[in-house]
């Protein structure tokens, strides 16, 4: 008999006023008892809409049934058939708008805590199981993956499991892409990312750090001189965007990319790190996405007394996950919604001293379907600050486009790739993730990496039948 409780088992978490001063993980994870109890809330309904709600189509009811039986390793293996990064996805996927959004239990009450269960199962595996890497028979064919973020790692894992010799090229000194430089430790511990990467290396994937494709080696050289038969570009988000308002080059104005890279990749919050970061007292983060929430929560943890989120629309339109907004509010982040900065103020040494904003009202819906923010005349006001973090998006890295002839891109820089294969305008070159879509989510990038792996296999094997989705585990 299913557990008919209308509410999810709550996620044990660090107290907000304790955690906003440390970088340890916020959510602590279910116990075995909590996981089994939550798993029994799943009705194992016939239509299992959750599976279609998952970008990588994990067999969700199956893994939950095994969890309910206490067969956690079996549950993990079911997830692994479709996802190469379960411990990551269980933490950072927007389940509320994917699998959980369509859960039957959500019609009356809260949906099953699918994300929390995925995380539990993955963590249980890491803590209790010995991985015996199943190496596929090698087929002797080489594929190059550019970028070691979620798209690249997924594509690499999928291809390696099919027997390809895969090399992942990473520009930074550590593999993981946005999982390492962008998403903070308190949301996604870095040793979890490292374990996922180690698992890929066990599988035979070669990871080469400090390799900037387009500079160290070009895409054409990978194909023509280094013996790779296909290339997947998963180079991720690129240069940060700014608002083009006065004062954005003042000292104390960071892009979220820079701020988060200093904190996460370079570990500026640890005393032994040589990387500096400003000791801020009053910080405003401009933007309303997950990246903005991450930057604000990092600033708070670094000791800032007041941290603001400035966003031009209302709470309803905040693009960040509800959970992240909720966590940020709990931690004392102050939300200045329906406000838009018009200029950043500075002193004669070009240090930030404040920000001038204009209040906004919501007008008619715009092309995105969200109500367009309209300035309220004469509503200017000023906030005293010493730091501003711009978290309003990125444009794709120009290096690969500039050095790969015949690679077509959109006007805004995104690589043009067929959906879902990821095939670009260049033969044997595929692309996926933020480099194609612009800033999106980890799971969508993973989905793109998985689809491209399938397409690469179809091209290289020349036998479409063997790549029928259901016949291979990727």
């Amino acid at each position: 008999m299913a557990n008919m409780s209308l509410k999810k088992n709550e996620m044990p978490s660090q107290d907000p006023m304790v955690r906003n001063r440390n970088f340890q993980e916020v959510a602590l994870g279910y116990t075995e008892e909590q996981a089994i109890d939550e798993a029994t809330r799943c009705l194992n309904c016939k239509h299992h809409p959750c599976v279609a709600g998952c970008p990588v189509e994990i067999d969700i009811p199956d893994f939950i049934m095994k969890t309910a039986e206490g067969k956690f390793e079996e549950a993990y293996q079911i997830i692994c058939q479709d996802s190469s990064l379960p411990a990551v996805c269980g933490r950072v996927c927007p389940q509320e708008s994917q699998c959980e959004a369509v859960c039957v239990r959500g019609i009356k009450g809260e949906p099953v805590g699918i994300g929390r269960l995925e995380r539990f199962v993955a963590d249980w595996h890491i803590a209790n199981a010995q991985d015996e890497p199943v190496r596929c028979p090698e087929n002797g064919r080489k594929v190059a993956i550019i970028g070691s973020g979620p798209a690249g790692l997924t594509c690499a894992g999928s291809l390696a499991r099919m027997g390809y010799a895969v090399t992942v090229f990473e520009a930074l000194h550590t593999a993981g892409g946005v999982l390492v430089y962008g998403i903070p430790e308190f949301r996604l511990p870095k040793d979890i990312v490292q374990k996922e990467i180690d698992a890929l290396i066990e599988l035979g994937v070669e990871v080469r750090t400090n390799m900037v494709i387009g500079r160290s080696i070009t895409v054409d050289e990978l194909l023509n001189e280094h013996g790779y038969e296909a290339v997947f570009i998963g180079s991720g988000a690129g240069l940060p965007m700014f608002m083009k308002i006065p004062g954005e080059n003042l000292k104390g104005v960071y892009s979220a990319n820079e701020y988060l890279t200093r904190v996460n990749l370079m570990k500026a919050y640890l005393p032994e790190s040589a990387t500096p970061i400003k000791k801020s007292k009053k910080v405003a983060v401009v933007g309303g996405g997950n990246v903005a929430m991450d930057a604000a929560r990092c600033a708070k943890r670094l000791g800032a007394e007041e941290v603001y989120i400035i966003y031009r629309r209302s709470e309803e339109e905040l693009p960040a996950r509800e959970e992240e907004v909720h966590h940020a509010m709990e931690e004392g982040i102050i939300f200045k919604l329906l406000n838009n900065p018009v200029r950043i103020l500075g002193d004669d040494k070009l240090n930030v001293t404040g920000i001038e904003c204009l209040e906004m009202a919501l007008g008619e819906p715009d092309e995105s379907g969200r109500r367009r923010p309209v300035p309220v005349e004469g509503s200017e006001w000023t906030l005293d600050l010493d730091t501003v973090i711009m978290a309003i998006g990125t444009s794709p890295n120009p290096l690969i486009k500039a050095t790969t002839e015949g690679l077509d891109t959109e006007k805004w820089g995104g690589i043009i790739a067929e959906d879902p294969s990821g095939q670009t305008s260049r033969a044997h070159v595929y692309a996926g993730g933020d480099a194609v879509t612009g800033a999106a989510t980890v799971i969508l990038a993973m989905g793109a990496g998985k689809c491209a792996a399938r397409a690469i296999d179809e091209e290289l094997s020349g036998m479409k039948s063997c790549a029928e989705k259901n016949n291979i585990n990727i």
């Binding site: 240069l239 000292k251 820079e258 200093r262 790190s273 040589a274 120009p398």
Partner: protein, 280 residues
Amino acid sequence: MYKILEKECLNPTVTRMVIDAPAIAAKAEPGQFVILRVDENGERIPLTVADFDRKKGTVTIIFQIVGATTELLNAKNEGDSLQDFVGPLGIPSVTEGLKKVAVVGGGVGCAIAFPVAKKLHEQGTVVHSVIGFKSEDLVILEDEFRAVSDHVAMMTDDGSYGEKGLVTDALRALLDAGEQYDEVIAIGPLIMMKFVSLLTKEYDIKTVVSMNSIMIDGTGMCGCCRLTVGGETKFACVDGPEFDGHLVDYDEAIQRSLMYREFEEEAHEHVCNLFKMEVK
């Protein structure tokens, strides 16, 4: 890990190192830079490629000991290795079609200017080098510059070597003597590049400067190295590091370069104290 094959002190504060980095040596061009980390907890710093040898697979860096990281780097010896060394990054110097060029180098900036002068010389361009230092004991690469230049003006601030004066004095003298250049390439402290640019503006000579902004990734991701060029925001790592000297907002760049001065001073002192303890 990237092995240090040679180390040489060029003057009390400037060191030259030859690093084993075949992949970078195969691609490097004058004007490009590398990003390195000395050790596991090290910061990422950009250094311009001072020379490269494609056959031997080596890249030469020349750096001034200005802070904690360069102090730690300088503490490494031949046979030691650097944690990370990535590149070549940035857009190479454009030298095609130049018939006669004045290369202006200031201090350790001469190390960056030298490969450009060398390339110009090798392609048959007439090279006039104007190189300046604070004093005689800080002079570097004099022989190297003489070997690739048709004329060298050596300047020191205190007159202890060469002519007394600034590089702008020497450049103005050359221009007033009727020398005509297709381009002036100025590489050195920001303040020097600012005044060279102001001078060449008077004479309406195209001027290229190399911006050594603070960087983290150096690959076009973080936006830390941004500067204003002709009223537009540019990124030194992917749009540069070389820019039209007449369009750069130097005052802003100077302030931005001081962003972490306090932190850097503290870190430098800390490292120096550690070294002193080791000596005891």
